[in-house]
């Protein structure tokens, strides 16, 4: 039983997966994921797909809010921009799916950087207001520019396909999502071993000090906005092609708040936290729905109150996490791991 790691080279110390065991588990995990769609039920698979989309989106939010410290209330709208632009690229310009997904990412990134421009002048609460205004203005545009977006009737999104292979079932879509999310997670995790990622963290911790150390605030804040909204764009694109029809109701302010809730529950400034948070917060409404339908046999009123119940529980969970476990599920996971590592001889 290893009780600790002893590094003699910087290279080994910098590794993400440090022991052979962890790497072996990783390989086993990937093999499991390959056969996953064939062993789980249909409902669980579509739940997994939604969770994967939420993971990608919450990594984007975490890059900006958790790592670079710029609070955003507009990611719901940015995801919407990604969804609409990807669909419109495919419909009007006949661009193949993969390319239009990436283009949607860049377009959202562009929109995000425009709204990120005030982030140099304002911060904290003022930045919240600026991004909230961005959310509401983009949402208004989605409703009212209906010659482009079809307004609240909804826009029918073509199916995703690569070289004639159409992702038309949950099972096929799972592989697409899993590949993109793996790419996204790997990129984000490695970003924080580079100069750019460290600059983000320096800005979060104390922006004036970071500037004194030679971090170009304007450049890196804008870069954080660009990267984070690129993730949002890809998320939106994947969401749009998954559900098949999008309307502005999919991207309200509530979605932005939900994403913030995800990274708080998971852990601000932790990639693993985004993953845990996204899974937990996607499961929560499902669990509530199942519980409500179970108790609905005894108290019939509970089914009608389900939307209210979801909001109330969401609020309660955010408050409880902030008060009792401010570092989120990622921290809880670390404590549990540390406990079992030394079990039964804990200090």
């Amino acid at each position: 039983m290893p009780t600790g790691l002893f590094h003699t080279k910087y290279r080994t110390d910098e590794r993400i997966f440090q022991t052979l065991w962890v790497r072996a588990w990783l390989v086993i995990f990937f093999i499991l994921m390959l056969i996953y769609p064939f062993i789980v039920s249909k409902a669980l698979l579509s739940f997994t797909n939604v969770a994967l989309i939420f993971i990608l989106g919450s990594i984007g939010v975490n890059l900006l809010t958790g790592f670079a410290g710029q609070i955003t209330f507009a990611h719901g709208a940015f995801i919407g921009v990604g969804a609409y632009s990807s669909a419109l690229f495919m419909i009007h310009f006949k661009i193949p799916f993969l390319l239009s997904m990436v283009l949607a990412g860049f377009f959202t990134s562009f929109v995000g950087m425009i709204f990120g421009l005030p982030s140099l002048r304002v911060k904290g609460f003022y930045l919240i207001l600026a991004t909230m205004a961005a959310q509401l203005i983009i949402e208004w545009c989605m409703y009212n520019l209906d010659f482009i977006t079809q307004g609240s009737t909804g826009l029918i999104v073509p199916k995703a396909s690569i070289m004639g292979f159409v992702f038309d079932s949950d099972r096929k879509y799972f592989y697409l999502l899993f590949a993109v999310v793996t790419l996204g997670v790997t990129f984000a995790r490695n970003l924080f071993r580079t100069r750019v990622g460290r600059a983000f963290i320096a800005i979060r911790d104390r922006d004036i000090a970071a500037e004194l150390l030679g971090v170009n605030l304007w450049k890196y804040k804008l870069m954080a906005f660009g990267l984070s909204t690129f993730y949002a764009g890809i998320t939106g694109s994947l969401w749009g092609h998954y559900v098949g029809i999008i309307s502005p109701e999919h991207f309200p302010l509530w979605l932005s708040l939900y994403y913030l809730g995800i990274i708080i529950v998971g852990g601000l400034g932790s990639i693993l936290g985004s993953i845990f948070g996204a899974i937990f917060m996607t499961a929560l409404p499902e669990i509530l729905r199942i519980t409500a339908s179970y108790f609905g046999r005894i108290y019939p009123g509970i089914i009608g109150a389900i939307t209210g119940l979801q909001e109330a529980v969401f609020g309660l969970i955010i408050i409880a996490f902030l008060i009792f476990e401010p570092d989120g599920l990622a921290e809880r996971w670390r404590t549990i791991k540390a406990y079992w590592k030394l079990w039964p001889f804990s200090y």
Partner: protein, 298 residues
């Protein structure tokens, strides 16, 4: 008097009435920020809860309106104390995103509870005032509007006087401007915190009742909490006169924009106008009318 001037005056007066409610809610918001440093995103839900509690007493329990109004105020005090003690006191000294997200959680919780109990349909208040309008010159003005604007004005003046002259008001301002100095002068800062939440919830409930009398209530009242943000930013976040001016400005502005621009754009200019205004304020005068620029040191 010609047609267009009358149209303008009607928009202006509606704007003033709605604006005075905004001013009330903004006053509560600024008070919380000034004395506790919490940026409260649940202000709209406080308005909502106040409005529904009054509905509960006056319609569902059939109490006389004035009695139910007083009971609403009592309930608001209890709610304010619960919120302050249970959710915000543990957050003292935490980073800004945590306190803000606690208020976001709070807003979601309160809204959820209201939906569970009362659903999302529009509910109508008892008609306290007669439907016959009052005429100011040639302009017809409904009695509800008349009463609410007078009521809001009285409250705003009363609170301004309270902060300027009363012992408690001065203590609150002292705690707001320098906590440690206030503590060493014998002011109980935790009492001041509780008191500012109580006052903020009280004015929010009153705003809710006024809105209910004007239009009836439904869940969209919570938008109030978002509209009050442009108002407080315009006023400068921590200034009470600023909040009042900001609230009235936003109310008038959104009505004028709604009245004149809805023809050119599609519907909903009224909803978006305050936020466009907010962006303009953030660009050209980020510290508002009366706010102090923050000087940062390492």
């Amino acid at each position: 008097m010609n047609e267009s001037l009358l149209f303008f005056l009607q928009l202006l007066i509606t704007g003033l009435v709605i604006g005075s409610v905004y001013a009330l809610v903004a006053l509560g918001w600024v008070l919380i920020y000034k004395s506790t440093g919490v940026l409260n995103l649940a202000q709209g839900e406080l308005v909502l809860v106040g409005a529904y509690i009054c509905f509960l007493f006056s319609i569902q329990l059939q109490l006389p309106f004035i009695v139910s109004f007083i009971l609403t105020l009592v309930a608001s005090v209890v709610i304010a104390l619960l919120i302050e003690r249970l959710s915000l006191r543990p957050m003292v000294g935490e980073p800004i995103i945590s306190t803000i997200m606690v208020t976001v959680g709070l807003s979601s919780l309160l809204r959820g509870i209201v939906i569970i109990i009362w659903g999302t349909d529009t509910r109508i208040y008892p008609s306290v005032f007669s439907q016959v309008p009052v005429y100011i010159g040639p302009i017809p003005l409904s009695r509800v509007y008349m009463t609410s604007i007078v009521f809001a004005a009285i409250l705003l003046i009363a609170f301004s006087l309270f902060f300027k002259y009363s012992r408690t008001g001065i203590a609150m301002r002292a705690a707001a401007s320098h906590q440690q100095a206030a503590l060493s002068m014998g002011i109980s800062v935790s009492q001041v915190f509780a008191l500012s939440w109580i006052i903020a919830t009280l004015v929010a409930s009153m705003g809710g009742v006024i809105l209910g009398l004007i239009n009836g209530i439904n869940i969209s009242i919570t938008l109030m909490g978002l509209k009050v943000l442009p108002a407080v930013v315009f006023g400068g976040l921590d200034s009470i006169p600023g909040a009042i001016i900001g609230g009235i400005t936003v109310g008038v502005l959104e009505n004028l924009c709604g009245g004149y621009f809805d023809i050119y754009f599609r519907a909903g200019v009224k909803e978006i106008a305050p936020y466009v205004f907010l962006v303009l304020v953030l660009i050209f005068r980020p510290y508002g009318l009366f706010g102090k620029p923050i000087i940062e040191r390492l």
